[in-house]
């Protein structure tokens, strides 16, 4: 059992945590209520700024005509595919660069330039190459996430403890054995954090892709809404993205907790 003092300490922590949550919820409640009030009282132009009520109605409308989950799913699907592909491709190329130092040296300036290049600028080319469809969106997301994955993972691999490398060399280890016995496992936590960065980058890439070309998806809702001056739809799309992003954030947090060591 804990001492009285320790119990008081735990209680204080709990109370503190509760208070933080409370204030967080208070802020969002005040924001929503004043937004709605301002709209009802005509203080703001609801055509431009929409209102919580209008957003809820829009969501209900989308739900009723069955397209709400369709759009969410399309975006989610694109995110999942791009994330998996991006991570695999990124780690594979990083592994090649680790294995073939010559290649790494040759490609270094290209990677640096590609990394700092704003990827949206590639949009038109991507559309021409991959067509106006899901392919382009995934390609966009890949461009955004793969380069940085390659750079990060390669850097982590190169940082592998040189004494441990020597240890394996003294056992006459092959490069492949070194990869699986040492380099991958010793960079486990680095790879997990690359997953984390990748997921948010992929999300950005997919929405960017949907802005460029799409017939469905949350990004499409926003784009379409702005084209027909339906700002309710735009706001709805943004809110949906915020919800998806925060769910994803908690998913990552959960996965990270389970996998980290």
């Amino acid at each position: 059992m804990f001492s009285e003092e320790h119990k008081r300490y735990l209680k204080k922590i709990r109370r503190n945590k509760f208070f933080v949550r409370f204030v967080q919820i208070l802020i969002i409640a005040i924001l929503l209520i004043s937004w709605q009030l301002a709209a009802d009282l005509g203080l703001i132009n609801t055509f431009i700024s929409s209102s919580p009520k209008a957003i809820i109605l829009t969501i209900v409308g989308l739900y009723n005509d069955g397209s709400l989950f369709h759009h969410i799913w399309v975006t989610l699907y694109e995110v999942i595919v791009s994330f998996v592909l991006g991570t695999i491709i990124g780690i594979l190329i990083a592994t090649l660069l680790w294995r073939f130092t010559f290649l790494a040296k040759v490609l270094d300036p290209y990677l640096t330039v590609l990394n700092s290049l704003p990827k949206v600028s590639l949009g038109p080319i991507i559309i021409i190459v991959a067509g106006a469809g899901t392919g382009s969106i995934i390609l966009m997301a890949l461009f955004i996430s793969v380069i940085i994955t390659i750079i990060d993972v390669h850097q982590a691999f190169m940082g592998t403890d040189s004494n441990k490398i020597r240890l394996l060399e003294s056992f006459k280890s092959s490069k492949t054995q070194m990869l699986f016995k040492l380099v991958l496992p010793s960079n486990y936590n680095n790879i997990i954090s690359v997953f984390k960065v990748n997921l948010s980058l992929t999300f950005i890439g997919v929405i960017m892709g949907e802005f460029l070309v799409s017939k469905a998806g949350v990004g499409y809702l926003i784009m379409y809404g702005s084209q027909v001056f339906n700002l309710n739809l735009v706001m709805t799309g943004i809110i949906l993205l915020a919800i998806m992003a925060s769910l994803m954030y908690y998913l990552i947090l959960f996965i990270e907790k389970r996998l980290s060591r």
Binding site: D161, N163, K164, R166, L167, L168, E169, S170, F171, K172, S173, Q177, K181, L182, P185, S186, Y188, R261
Partner: protein, 246 residues
Amino acid sequence: MILSIKDLRKIYHTKQNEILAVDNFSFNLKEGEFVAIVGPSGCGKSTILSILCGLDEPSSGTIEADKNLKFGYMLQGDNLFEWQTIFKNCLLGLEINKEVTKESKEYVKKLLKTYGLEEFMDAYPSNLSGGMRQRVSLIRTLATKPDLLFLDEPFSALDYQSRLAVSDDVYKIIKKEKKSAIMVTHDISEAISMADRIIVLSKRPSTIKSIYEIKLTNRSTPINNRKAKEFSKYYDMIWKDIDYHV
């Protein structure tokens, strides 16, 4: 004679200049012998070891080893893999050489048991003390059944007390398993207490300055050997031999 080294020479090339690290290094190792190499820091001791066990190429010179002579290299620091259990750590060399069999596993278990680590077999390295980790590192080296061990400052990460205890342990293990060994160390007392022969190296480029046959009365374990009456005589001679003026 299981190992015969002739006129070893090693030049390191860097962009700025070239460094002659080892020059004119020759000696022969007898079976079952424990040889210590001492010398001022940076003189090229690690270089010699890594050339002998084949990690580095010499610039010139020859190394003739008995056919079938198997090397084991114990690096400075234990380099245990924190993500694997002690047992798995000990199997590393066997796994890489694809020699994990029922027999080899039994052998590793026996080693762990003999050297007081049996109950930590499934523990992770972070749960072990520095001395225990060092012993695991030695067992990992012994697991592949080498005939000749190269030890590069094996105890430098330890504090003085555990250093004495672990060097005693390691010495007993090596003698009991009837291995030959070449050990690099900074510590003259450690060298005298453990080695049959001591090679004193000069400042860089390392050449052999002198070789001492260590003859102690009542030779037993390193800790006891420190009490031998010849101990301080050897210490003084070797101390004077090493250029400690930095």
